[in-house]
């Protein structure tokens, strides 16, 4: 009798220990996921970096101006769409299934880290734009969602919270690294006073002694990204689960959205059929039109601000506040979609965006108002993306 009691106690103790170890590893996975998203989030910081990098490349080749470097961010977004836009179908899933979360995160972080290292030695504007755009876009796309899957296996009942913590890092990364770049490159907060004519417009760049800090700033940041990537790789681990359980969790990402749709109705049978419907083109065109403003202002807020506000650090802070608002809004929107329809959320978002787009030129001279307008614009950018994922589930029956 006593032997049986001791045995059951030992089994219970083992179970508690296993559970504790699972929770500990889950928390480590969340921290690791947050860290890799800090690195991936620098994609959105381009608007803060661009003036310094252009100043540096202009000091090497006087024909380079802010318009030359404009292409970098669009290239990043195109590659982000390849890595992240198809995350549950192509790149993310294939890598995660084949090599696991750790290796996928290592590849993602390495793309970003090495692109910064390589770019610190490049003096050709187009080579810089292509290498930076491709590597950062692809790296951010592959790495940002990967830690979410193991976190769902660790915390099957807290998936929303786990996703929120990990994805919050994406916005926070843009927020802190934008400021870090400014502190490292322009520590004395000097004004951008080199007038450069591009087309019919006069823009401002930094003097050579500030621009010369850019290569080392890129190397310092590469070191930081490398360190964060190593930490993320060490912290994130795949729980020991069967292949079937893993597949079930990954497909539940899709069914999470499907719950919004009426599951009783017949879903869209194939992509070929979907492409032939007005709904598909309506959504694609709506996303095309709505995301343009956000993409443009994230890229140009600082260049535009420098023409009116002669305080570099203040503009970087404005950008960071905007990135933080963008990040919080992403979290908030997922909650809002439970209470409001796509039409209500999108029309509210459009109304805010229209108001900002038509009036931003009136407030740009006032730093406080400009900060509010930039923050709301960044929020609208976030607001114009997430609802489309949910709406795809509603219209087509699957994401």
């Amino acid at each position: 009798m006593e032997d049986e009691l001791a045995e059951s106690r030992a089994t219970l103790f083992d179970k508690v220990q296993t559970n504790r170890s699972r929770v500990r590893r889950g928390v480590m996975c969340l921290i690791g996921g947050f860290l890799i998203n800090l690195v991936a989030g620098i994609l959105n910081s381009w608007g803060t970096f661009t003036i310094y990098i252009t100043s540096y490349l202009h000091s090497k080749d006087s024909s380079v101006n802010l318009n030359t470097m404009f292409i970098t961010f669009p290239v990043s977004i195109v590659f982000l769409s390849t890595g992240f836009g198809n995350f549950h179908l192509v790149v993310g899933t294939i890598l995660y299934h084949k090599i696991g979360a750790r290796a996928t995160i290592a590849i993602s972080g390495s793309f970003i880290t090495f692109s910064y290292l390589i770019c610190s030695f490049i003096t050709d504007a187009y080579a810089f734009a292509v290498i930076y755009g491709m590597c950062v876009g692809f790296g951010a796309g592959c790495g940002s969602f990967t830690p979410v899957w193991p976190s769902w296996l660790y915390f099957p009942k807290r998936r929303g919270l786990a996703t929120g913590i990990i994805m919050f890092g994406f916005g926070f990364g843009a927020c802190i690294f934008g400021l870090a770049f400014t502190f490292l490159t322009n520590p004395n907060n000097e004004e951008a006073d080199v007038r450069v004519k591009s087309g019919g417009q006069v823009t401002f760049l930094f003097a050579k002694h500030i621009a010369d800090n850019v290569p080392w700033t890129l190397r310092y940041l590469a070191f930081m990204y490398g360190a964060l990537t190593v930490a993320a790789v060490l912290l994130v681990s795949d729980p020991t689960v069967s292949r079937v359980e893993r597949k079930t969790v990954m497909s539940s990402f899709v069914s999470a959205f499907n719950s919004v749709a009426d599951l009783q109705k017949v879903n869209c049978p194939s992509r070929t059929v979907a492409v032939r419907t007005w709904a598909f083109w309506d959504l694609l065109l709506a996303l095309f039109f709505t995301s343009g403003y956000g993409l443009y202002i994230i890229n140009q807020y600082k260049n535009y601000g420098h023409k009116h506000i002669r305080n570099d650090m203040l503009l970087s802070v404005i950008g960071s506040v905007g990135y933080a608002c963008n990040s919080f809004h992403r979290l908030m929107l997922t909650q809002l979609m439970d209470y409001f329809t796509f039409r209500q959320v999108m029309l509210a978002n459009c109304a805010l965006q229209i108001a900002c787009a038509f009036t931003i030129d009136l407030v740009v001279d006032n730093p406080a108002l400009y900060c509010i307008w930039v923050s709301v614009s960044f929020m609208c950018y976030a607001g114009g993306l997430s609802p489309f994922a949910v709406e795809c589930g509603v219209v087509f029956g699957h994401v």
Binding site: P74, D282, F396
Partner: protein, 83 residues
């Protein structure tokens, strides 16, 4: 489907290069913001035009419809047997 719809964002990023080269360079930042303001109005119109309820039954192939019918029949027979 979202992975296909999101390509609209990628296209928009590419289109912003055109907006920058043509509108910002010639007419300034404010003009580009106005263009995007008009784009957002177009978004609102598209959102209002979106029909959320589709009867996908019409889009199924004949073989799929037959298969669904067979499955339904089998389910009914199973239920009857259980009863």
């Amino acid at each position: 489907m979202f992975s296909m719809v999101i390509q609209g964002g990628g296209l928009s990023a590419l289109f912003s290069i055109f907006v920058n080269e043509v509108i910002t360079v010639k007419y300034g930042y404010a003009a580009s913001f106005y263009v995007y303001g008009v784009f957002t109005v177009a978004t609102a119109v598209l959102v209002l035009l979106l029909r959320e309820r589709y009867n996908w039954q019409h889009y199924l192939s004949d073989s799929t419809k037959q298969l669904m019918h067979v499955i339904k029949q089998e389910k009914l027979e199973n239920e009857e047997d259980t009863a």
